[in-house]
């Protein structure tokens, strides 16, 4: 299978791999996917009191496109407000990485991971 240069770059040099303290009230954690489907993404965001994403970390079990999609969104998330973050669409991820049709679900999963992390943060902060 031919991967785009951008997918290969993120796969070879993934950005922002790691874990944030999930018990920190400023940290939202999203975990989406299932092992049996071949993809599990964990995305964490750390948000300042004024609602700006200061840090983002990921870990992904999945194919090269899944790793690249989650690596890319951690780059995109930093510096964004939660509202801006929730506007990130899977189509933009797919376009940036030039994902082939069979790999579109990886970008969908990355979008779901963002939404899930934001929802986790909001429920923690009681908003």
């Amino acid at each position: 299978m031919a991967y785009s240069d951008k997918v290969l770059d993120h796969y070879e040099n993934p950005r922002n791999v790691g874990t944030l303290d999930k018990d920190d009230p400023h940290v939202g954690t999203g975990m989406v996917g299932a092992p049996a489907c071949g993809d599990v993404m964990k995305l964490q965001i750390k948000v300042s009191d004024d609602g700006v994403i200061e840090d983002a970390k990921f870990k992904t079990y999945g194919c090269g496109s899944a790793i690249a999609s989650s690596s890319l969104v951690t780059e995109w998330l930093k510096g964004k407000t939660l509202d801006q973050a929730s506007e990130i669409k899977n189509s933009a991820i797919a376009e940036e990485l030039a994902l082939p049709p069979v790999k579109i679900h990886c970008s969908v999963l990355a979008e779901d991971a963002i939404k899930s992390a934001i929802a986790d943060l909001k429920s923690k902060q009681g908003k």
Binding site: P14, G33, A34, P35, A36, G38, D39, K59, Y61, D112
Partner: protein, 407 residues
């Protein structure tokens, strides 16, 4: 790492195909250019030369498996041999019954021939093997019915390399008067085959798994007691009417030479390959959460099929692109299905997806194995550091008990 490395990956996929041995190529070439005659031409020396070469090759193929040369029928490869044997014998003996029996882990060329017969009105049983990949003899015996006409079991499994007890299975078939076909594509040059002793009626062979060319194979058809098959290819009545079509002299000569070399060298070669395989196994088993698929004892020395838990299959294949191996995950082809062979052993989808088949061969060196061990260790560690599942495992969470939102 740059993409445009000119260096070829290390080849560890000998169960997919083998290079033609240079000695085989040398013997083959004159039959493309100089001795181009049609072996069926009886009226001139071009034909006679070709015919003599074909018959010598037939003797070599027969010798490797201790058969009579008259029991060897040339085909285009093991897929054709399997089709000819299964359909040919099932059709010929259909008055006995219309039940056929095989194993769920057979090659697609057997499974699909069975499916075709099912469409024609036959009933098929696909027996599940034990978790080690081997067929339970009692279960096999019980699966045979009064109307069973044919059973087909492969000698050596292509994915996991396990060796079935062909003698015992054959004896059960003899007792029950069932025609017994064996796909031996992965067995020649790797295990001893003695068809004078083995109770086997039909056996399929391939050249390109044993350092011969692609596009040539053979079917063994027992003479005593005589087994009859219906031809699938009709025409000039070549191969005693069982398989028409002008014989591919150069490929046949090459298959004969490849099988001759296999007969002479297989003992030493297998010892050497076993040492390499064991070294690879021990090197990889240093890591946590690795699982060998299939029985390790009743197995050809060439094969190591191993699953790396908590690492996704396709990213694993990307990570090991400096070696040429096969994956238990069919992600690279059209479907996204995990290996049906590993699933039949009861492996989870995750473990099936994260499996790699290493198959070692004649030209594998110790340096190749050392490189592979180091590469795998480095890449598996990297992918596990990326894997949320690995973290969960390390935290003592049982991943099978987590409720995942399926997507």
């Amino acid at each position: 790492m740059t993409k445009d490395i000119a260096r070829k990956p290390i080849y560890l996929d000998y169960s997919s195909t083998t290079p033609i041995d240079p000695r085989v190529a040398e013997k083959m070439i004159p039959f493309i250019t100089e001795h181009f005659g049609n072996p069926a031409s009886r009226s001139h020396s071009f034909g006679w030369t070709a015919e003599k070469a074909v018959e010598e090759a037939r003797e070599e193929v027969a010798k490797l498996v201790n058969a009579d040369p008259r029991e060897i029928v040339w085909t285009s490869g093991a897929t054709e041999s399997n089709n000819l044997a299964i359909k040919g014998a099932s059709h010929f003996y259909s008055t006995k019954g219309k039940h056929i029996l095989t194993v769920a882990t057979e090659h697609k060329a057997v499974i699909d021939a069975f499916r075709e017969l099912e469409r024609e009105g036959y009933t098929a049983t696909y027996l599940e093997p034990e978790p080690n990949g081997l067929v339970d003899l009692e279960k096999f015996k019980k699966a045979i019915r009064p109307d069973t006409v044919l059973a087909s079991v492969m000698f050596v499994n292509n994915e996991i390399g396990v060796i079935q007890d062909i003698e015992a299975l054959g004896n059960i078939c003899r007792e029950q008067k069932v025609i017994f076909h064996v796909d031996a594509a992965q067995a020649t040059g790797k295990v001893d085959i003695d068809l004078e002793k083995l109770p086997v009626d039909l056996m399929s062979f391939s050249a390109h798994k044993t350092y011969g060319p692609k596009g040539i194979g053979a079917l063994y058809v027992r003479r005593k007691p005589r087994i009859r098959i219906e031809a699938q290819m009709h025409g000039g009545g070549h191969e005693r009417g069982m398989r028409s079509g002008t014989l591919a002299t150069h490929q046949i000569v090459a298959m004969g030479e490849a099988f001759r070399i296999a007969r002479i060298e297989m003992q030493l070669e297998n010892e050497r390959i076993r040492k390499l395989r064991d070294k690879l196994l021990h090197g990889l088993q240093d890591m946590e959460e690795v699982y060998v698929n299939g029985d390790l004892k009743q197995r050809i020395p060439h094969n190591l099929n191993i699953s790396f838990n908590y690492v996704e299959g396709e990213s694993l294949i990307m990570a090991v692109k400096d070696i040429a191996v096969s994956s238990g995950s069919a992600c690279t082809s059209a479907s996204l299905e995990p290996s049906y062979v590993l699933r039949a052993l009861g492996r989870s989808d995750e473990l099936a997806h994260s499996s790699i088949r290493f198959s070692i061969g004649r030209f594998t060196t110790e340096a190749d194995v050392d490189f592979t061990i180091q590469l795998l260790k480095e890449k598996i560690q990297k992918l596990r550091e990326l894997s949320p599942l690995w973290d969960m495992y390390k935290d003592g969470i049982d991943i099978s008990k987590v409720e995942w939102a399926a997507h």
